[in-house]
Symmetry: C2
Subunit: 349 residues, 2 copies
C-alpha cells in the first residue's frame, strides 16, 4: 500500500557505479549514489511506504517513535526493492533465460513479482517449513516453486545447480550490491520522510536491509545511530559483530522466519561492521508482545520478523527516553492461523 507523496531525492545527482568484489576481499564498494540509483529505478514500481506515528504509543514508550511501514509494500515486505533493482539491471539475453532464487518467503515473492513486472520468469527454491501464505503468494505471481528439505538439503547448492543447468541468473537473498542498494531505499525514504532521527532500529536476517539502510541513512544524517536487532536464537549477526568475523550458526529455531539465515554475507558484514552502532537481541516472547502492541495500539498486522526491532525499543535497553526513534516494520506476511496462535498464546500465558 502507498500514500501519495513526492519528496525530492537528495542523492540522485550521482550515477551508479556498482563494482563486483571478490569474496573475502570486500572493500565497501557500495556508495550512497547506488542507493539513489536504485530509488530512481524503483520509482513507480514499488510503493514509497508511509511513516506512521501514534501519540498513545509515544506516551507509553516515552519517546517519539516513527514506524516505516514496509508491511504495506508490494508483496507485503521490503524484499521487492532489492529483487526489482537487480533483475531490472539484467541484459535482454539474461532476462530471456530467466532467474532463480532461494528464499524462506518474502524474497521469493519479491523475485516472483519483479520477474513478472520485467517480463522474465522465475524459479524459486523454498524450504519445506515456509509459511503457507508465502508459498501460495509466490505461486500467485507466476513463479515455479522447488521445495527442499530445510535442515537437510542446502538451498544454495540447489539454487546454484538450477542456475548453471538452465542458464538462469541467481538472485541472491542479500549478499549482492544491487540487492543491498535496493533494500537501502527503505532507509533513503525514511531519512527523507523524517527529520533528525536519533536512532533507526532494523531487523537483521542476512543483513541486506540493515546494511543498505546504513549506507543511505548515515549519508543523509551522519549523527543517526543504526541499531540491528535479532532474536536470541538467530544471533549470528550479533556474534559476528562482537567477534569481528562472520559466525555461522545452526539453522535457528525462532518465530522470526525472516531471521532463519545462518550467517551474514561478506558484503553485508563489512558494511555493518563499518557503520552499525549497536546490535541488540530480543526473545521470541518479546517479539510476540511487540506484535500485540502493533495490533492493539497501531492497528496493523506485521509478521514476527517485522516486530523484532520494536521489541528492542520496548525493552528500552538503549535509554531512548525523549529520543526520536525510527522503527522499520519490514513485512506483514503471516498466515492468519499462525498469527492467532502466536498472539493467543501470549494472551493466555
Amino acid at each position: 500500500m502507498s500514500s501519495p507523496s513526492g519528496d525530492p531525492d537528495p542523492l540522485s545527482s550521482h550515477q551508479s557505479d556498482v563494482r563486483e568484489v571478490a569474496p573475502g576481499a570486500p572493500d565497501l564498494p557500495l556508495q550512497p549514489a547506488d542507493v539513489a540509483h536504485a530509488a530512481a529505478d524503483l520509482k513507480g514500481r514499488v510503493h514509497r511506504t508511509p511513516v506512521l506515528t501514534s501519540r498513545r504509543v509515544n506516551e507509553l514508550a516515552g519517546a517519539d517513535l516513527f514506524f516505516k511501514c514496509e508491511n504495506f509494500q508490494r508483496v507485503g515486505a521490503f524484499k521487492i526493492r532489492g529483487a526489482y533493482n537487480m533483475i531490472s539491471s539484467l541484459t535482454d539475453k539474461q532476462l530471456k533465460k530467466g532467474v532463480v532464487a532461494f528464499s524462506s518467503g518474502n524474497h521469493a515473492q519479491g523475485v516472483a513479482l519483479a520477474a513478472a513486472l520485467l517480463n522474465t520468469n522465475a524459479k524459486i527454491v523454498m524450504p519445506d517449513n515456509s509459511p503457507k501464505i508465502k508459498v501460495e503468494a509466490t505461486k500467485g505471481y507466476g513463479a515455479e516453486i522447488v521445495i527442499y528439505n530445510y535442515g537437510k538439503e542446502n538451498r544454495e547448492t540447489i539454487g546454484k545447480g538450477i542456475a548453471e543447468k538452465e542458464g538462469r541468473t541467481l538472485v541472491p537473498p542479500f549478499d549482492h550490491d544491487l540487492i543491498i542498494a535496493g533494500q537501502g531505499t527503505v532507509g533513503l525514504e525514511f531519512g527523507q520522510q523524517v527529520d533528525a532521527l536519533d536512532y533507526v532500529f532494523c531487523p537483521v536476517g542476512g543483513g541486506g536491509l540493515t546494511s543498505g539502510c546504513c549506507i543511505a541513512l548515515k549519508h543523509l544524517h551522519p549523527a543517526v545511530k543504526i541499531v540491528g536487532v535479532e532474536t536470541e536464537a538467530a544471533n549470528d549477526g550479533w556474534q559476528s559483530l562482537k567477534s569481528g568475523k562472520i559466525v555461522t550458526i545452526d539453522p535457528p529455531n525462532t518465530i522470526a522466519d525472516g531471521m532463519r539465515t545462518v550467517a551474514l554475507g561478506e558484503r553485508t558484514f563489512e558494511i555493518m561492521r563499518t557503520y552499525l552502532d549497536e546490535m541488540v537481541l530480543v526473545s521470541d516472547s518479546e517479539v510476540i508482545e511487540a506484535m500485540r502492541w502493533i495490533f492493539s495500539r497501531l492497528k496493523m498486522v506485521v509478521e514476527p520478523t517485522a516486530a523484532v526491532p520494536f521489541a528492542a525499543v520496548l525493552r528500552n535497553e538503549l535509554r531512548l527516553t525523549g529520543k526520536r526513534v525510527g522503527v522499520i516494520l519490514s513485512g506483514g506476511n503471516i498466515d492468519m492461523d499462525n498469527f492467532f496462535n502466536l498472539l493467543r498464546h501470549q494472551v493466555h500465558a
Copy 2:
C-alpha cells in the same frame, strides 16, 4: 496515527454559522463552511489520517479503491472529531461543569479524550454489552463510567438525568450540528486527498459520519456518489430512507457494535435524505469476510463496523468495475479475543 501532510483547505473562507433547529422541523442548517470551521478547530489536535491503496486489492476488486484510515485516528476511531468540535465550542462556565455522554464505545472514548484535552471532565454512560477494550480505554482517558442495562434501560434518559442534575453539557453521539460538522471533516480530508472519486462508501450508525461526509464531499465534488451501508439487522437507516420517515427498530443483534443505534437522528436523516445516493445492506458474515481481506491484504486491523462499507464494495452490487471508490475505515477498536473469534469462525466455516 498520522502521516505528515499539509493540504490547503478549500472550504475555510467562510465562518461557521451553526443554528439550532427545533425537532421535527429540520431545514439543513449545516453548511460546508461549518465543516471547514470544524477542520480548523481540529487542526493539530486530531490526525489527518492517511489514505492507503493496494494494487493487489485493486486487481482483485477490479476498481481503484482508496481507504481512509480512521482506524489510525486518535482513540482509534473518527469519533474524536465530533466530540472535540462540540466540546471546544463550550463556554468556560460550561467547561467547569463538565460533560456527559452515552455511547456503546467509540463516542465514549472520543468524548473522554476531548474532555481531557480541553481541561474539562466527562461522565460516560455505557451499556453493559460494551466491548471491554472500549470501556477500559474510556477510563484510561480519565472519564468516569456509568454502566446501564442494554435493552432494559434507556441510555438517553440516564444521560439527560445526569446532565440536568449535575449541570453537565450532554454531548450527543450524532444528532447535533457540531458533532456532524466534526465527523464531516473525514469527508473533507478525503475529498482533498483523492481526486475524482466516483463513489464514497460510509458506515451508517446514527448517521453523523455519513451526513457530515455528504455535506463536505458533495460541496467539493458534486458528482461523487455517497453510499451508506448498514448490516441487515441494523437496517433502520435503510428503512428510513426507503420510507421517507425515521424508522425506529429494536436494538439490533449485529457484530457491528457501532450500528446498534435504533434510529437515525432528525438532523442526520434530513441531510442523508437530501444528499445520499444509495443505501446498501450487508450480512454479518460478509463483514467478517471483509475484515479478513483487510487483515490479510491490507495488513490492517479494523473493528466490524469499519469493515461494513468494504463488505458492500466486495459484494459489488453497484457495478464498480473501473471506478474510483473511496472506502471509509471508521475505526480499529476491537478486543483481540473478539477479533480472533470472529475471524477464526469464518476460517473454519
